[in-house]
Symmetry: C2
Subunit: 316 residues, 2 copies
Amino acid sequence: MTGQARLIAVDWGTSSLRAYLLGDGGAIIDERAMPWGIMATPGGDFAKALETVTEDWRRRQIDLPMIASGMIGSAQGWREIPYVRCPAGLEDLVAALKLQTNVLLPIVPGLVMDGDIPDVIRGEETQIIGALDRMPQLHPASLLVLPGTHSKWVSVKDGKIVAFTTYLTGELFAVLGKHSILGRPALTAGASTPPKSETWEAFDRGVLTIRENASRSLSSLLFSARTMVLSHRLPAELSLDYLSGLLLGEELRSALGERRRREALPLALIGETTLCERYLRALKLFDVTEVAVIAEAATTGLWRIAERTLSQLARP
Amino acid sequence: MTGQARLIAVDWGTSSLRAYLLGDGGAIIDERAMPWGIMATPGGDFAKALETVTEDWRRRQIDLPMIASGMIGSAQGWREIPYVRCPAGLEDLVAALKLQTNVLLPIVPGLVMDGDIPDVIRGEETQIIGALDRMPQLHPASLLVLPGTHSKWVSVKDGKIVAFTTYLTGELFAVLGKHSILGRPALTAGASTPPKSETWEAFDRGVLTIRENASRSLSSLLFSARTMVLSHRLPAELSLDYLSGLLLGEELRSALGERRRREALPLALIGETTLCERYLRALKLFDVTEVAVIAEAATTGLWRIAERTLSQLARP
């Protein structure tokens, strides 16, 4: 833990609370992670949780400014921060943050895309600000993919977020794997762990099943996760890998179809390494090989936003 | 309970056991239903369960022949009966049944459709035999829809089942409604029951959202069940009705697309009345209004199959 501390940056989502002590330029000096997402914060006491997590750092320096992003700004979080309308970029987020006066923890607002079918992001906007800072070549026009429980495909133009689409890929995998007949074969197949090569092969087959059956819907192709096992073409213990391939394949089939209908923008993945690896593999099966990967963008985003918002951090 | 008993017909599925005492021509004399599906048969003792359910009837007449259909013939059931290959009709089922000699309970085999992506039915084949018997006009060429946990769309030609597709509509609704973020608003909205007209309206909106966004995938449109509530366009207590509309809409969008690509065959719904009502309503929103409805076809099917299989029932 070295360097002059400048900011406490908090990435506070549904399932976890990650706090970072940042120095000049947003360099990470120290970090803490707790399973205290907004749905599991002890006693629902957000102030107490934040105090506990940042106690050490504040003991060193009492007046450290703070900033947060993520679901902590939702109706179920600490304070509901109204969504900012798309298109929106760094300046729009800063303007909205400046309205939050006299608060312990300023929270970056999420974005809403209006229309017949509204869509929202909360937390991802900050990662995108960070990603654009890290890779300026994405600034003019790009498509950013943020995999997760709710996977987001975000269109950027001239440094602004202009549109996005949410896919429920991760959540579908979790509930179908745990609670449906599709996950049961894997659960009852016993504890043997198949070799990595076989799990990837099953995953690939799922992706290709979606790709090669363009006219068939996901809700019918899902049943193949069962019939492939019934007909002994897929070992039961690999059925969840196959299911994962089907669901990710569906996301790519739909999102890349949209992309083709517009123009083939540069593509970047933003997220945790093992999840990005899965997406890279599936993208390759859809013949998309030029993809940038950005493992961690939240702290960079929080720093850039804070720098423009908080007077204590004003560039000299 | 009047009339000469001729046959005990058993419709034994995953979640329930329905036994019927049938008279001449398959007329229902008496019936029993127990929640003893193959996954919940007390002690896993199928023989005992059957004995208990049919005891009264056997006391009256000890040598009543029996026949069953459904998941009782699966690997998790009493005896695994190999699938019969499509195309298949009454004669093929009868031929397979005649191989089951010296058994207490002959079980109608399910059907398998081979190919890159295999598909299977078990129990529905019997309902279809019954439906074709009830409505001979479906015999030459028709499309039969059997809604349920796993909804089946079955193509019939010259009285034979030639192809079918399974949609996971019912199972997706169950797991998403109970275990995902999409079901949560309805669960926390309180106990007030909205009027029927409003629940239908929310259902319709779900169906139309799928229909009117032909290029968007289900896994992205599902998220609208959340964002519509977030943006106060849909009351939280109606979100499950909207979700039901989305999922049924997806089934129709896909299955009717297939139908258009081939030819517009006569359509019939086979199933429980309230579920068929839901399908009729959704079909209407897809401009399909000419649909026959057959509420109960299993006993007719079991009777027709038994009549051709069991010598005791041979027509005079």
